[in-house]
Amino acid sequence: MMTNSILRRRRNELVAGVLVLIILAVLPLPIRDVYTQNLIILTILYAGLSQAWNILGGYCGQISLGHGLYFGIGAYVSTMLFVSAGIPPTIGMFAAGIVGAVAALLVGWPCFRLSGHYYAIATVVVGEIGYLLFLNWDFVGAATGLYVPFHGENWAALQFRTSKLPFHYVVLAFAALTWIVAWVIEGSRWGYSWRAVRDDVTAARSLAVRVFPSKMAAAAISGFFTAIGGAIYAQYVGYIDPDSVLASSFSVLIALPAVLGGVGTLWGPLVGAIVLIPTSELTRSYMGGAGGIDLMIYGGLIVVIALARPTGLVSLLGIRKQVGGANAAPT
């Protein structure tokens, strides 16, 4: 018999994944409080977004600080399709995903020639350019932004006003999808190539790993799901403008759960989101009035986790001792 630790581990992860999915599906049922419902929805949405980031930033090790661009593009594409062509966001979000993937490829094509910090800074700048362009682009509402028209309670447009529950299942489906994509990738040739590129690009090349196509594939998948997340977010909040979906701080918000939860791991984004999103929302709600304390707690938390758990919070749970290489980032 071939004892295979990898297959065994992957099967266990899948079982755990199904269990977590069941828990998250049941979780909102007893909750009547809208604030808490909203908190859970945001947490799950960020877990999905961060998993999408994790595909490029974690598994492939390309620390993108410009993912807000794909998020914003997704939000704008689906909203514009809805507003001006009447295409419902359930279809529009896939168009948004495709545009997001193409954008990620267009950004990746020049930027993947840059290494380490040069890449990270370039992604910041590209994101900022996107922000400025949308801010001045009258066709998409410029600084005024876009309102998503309400067409009555319906699933096609993902519009629900009487209850937040349907939206809970929309974001849960999104997060579950990104999780399963990451799970499939982890066990595939791509996943191995990406991690090899992250850990040591020279060694990867000597083993016939196609470095540039690997990065591009990771970017496309990552951009696709980030944009879908943006489309969902736009439907959830009902109003978008450059500051709410394209600000550079968004790029960091998307990356943070994966980074602090455990970069390049299946559970890192969810664990990170569970810690970060409620912290940030609760401190803002209860201490935001005092001005600044919420940011201090949030910033301090980031510093403490990054220093105390460099491999992420998942290492506390002992789920999988995933270790990021010393080279796992800019060199």
Binding site: I6, R189, S193, L207, G324
Partner: protein
């Protein structure tokens, strides 16, 4: 039948400094060839040309008659050139088994096949017991074995070993030597750069001696150790006198 690998008039300079000058030699299938010479003789630079990491300025390198020089590491690896590195380069976020699977995936898209191949080469390299340990937790000699296993998983025709025995204790080096013989017995031709002459000379079939970027001489180990030019250029300090 042409030799397995032909190095013909290869020259390469870096920023005006000549690393290799007009280097030519052949490698026959199934042999263990030693590439020796003092520090700065151009051994690693030549390795980088053969593995495709750098393109020679002049000259050609052919594998079974097909030019591989200047085609890049990807084509060279596909064609059957595998290598280890002077400073070990393991994928530290992965287990030993996963490291090896990266190599195996160069020949298959199927995870099951890559796993089976990893199983096989881990056994050859004597790392089966460590398969599920994190790569970073290996001892230095184990890491060198890991590099060999990973390279073997690409099913190479030729394996380039860059100072794989340097810095090991005599016992570790002896088991390294045995591993290299096993690799050759599997039908893989070996070219090795090495400093530890006492271990290298009994192991290799033939040696090419480089000095100051040029081929000083080539031949059987037993003849080379008596060659005054070699003794002067390289073995000088240790053996001459």
């Amino acid at each position: 039948m042409p030799p397995l690998l032909e190095v013909q008039n290869v020259s390469k300079s870096f920023g005006g400094v000549a690393a290799n000058v007009d280097i030519s030699f052949d490698v026959a299938a199934g042999e263990i060839l030693g590439l020796i010479g003092p520090n700065g003789a151009g051994k690693t630079s030549l390795f980088n040309s053969i593995s495709g990491e750098v393109s020679p300025d002049r000259g050609e390198i052919r594998l079974e008659g097909r030019r591989i020089s200047g085609t890049g590491p990807l084509v060279c690896a596909r064609a059957g050139i595998a290598r280890t590195f002077q400073v070990v380069r393991s994928f530290d976020s992965m287990t030993v088994r996963e490291n090896v699977m990266v190599g195996a995936f160069s020949r298959t898209n199927r995870a099951r096949e890559a796993m089976a191949e990893a199983e096989r080469v881990l056994d050859v390299a004597g790392l089966s017991a460590r398969a599920d340990h994190a790569a970073y937790s290996l001892t230095p000699p184990e890491k060198r074995r890991l590099e060999i296993a990973r390279a073997l998983a690409t099913r190479p025709r030729i394996l380039l070993l860059d100072e794989m025995l340097t810095g090991l204790t005599p016992t570790e080096a002896q088991s390294g030597v045995q591993l290299i013989r096993d690799v050759r017995d599997q039908g893989v031709t070996v070219i090795m750069v090495e400093h530890v002459m006492e271990i290298l000379l009994p192991l290799i079939d033939r040696a090419v001696v480089l000095n100051l970027g040029r081929v000083l001489t080539q031949g059987l180990p037993k003849d080379l150790v008596r060659d005054p030019a070699v003794i002067r250029a390289y073995l000088g300090d240790k053996y001459a006198g």
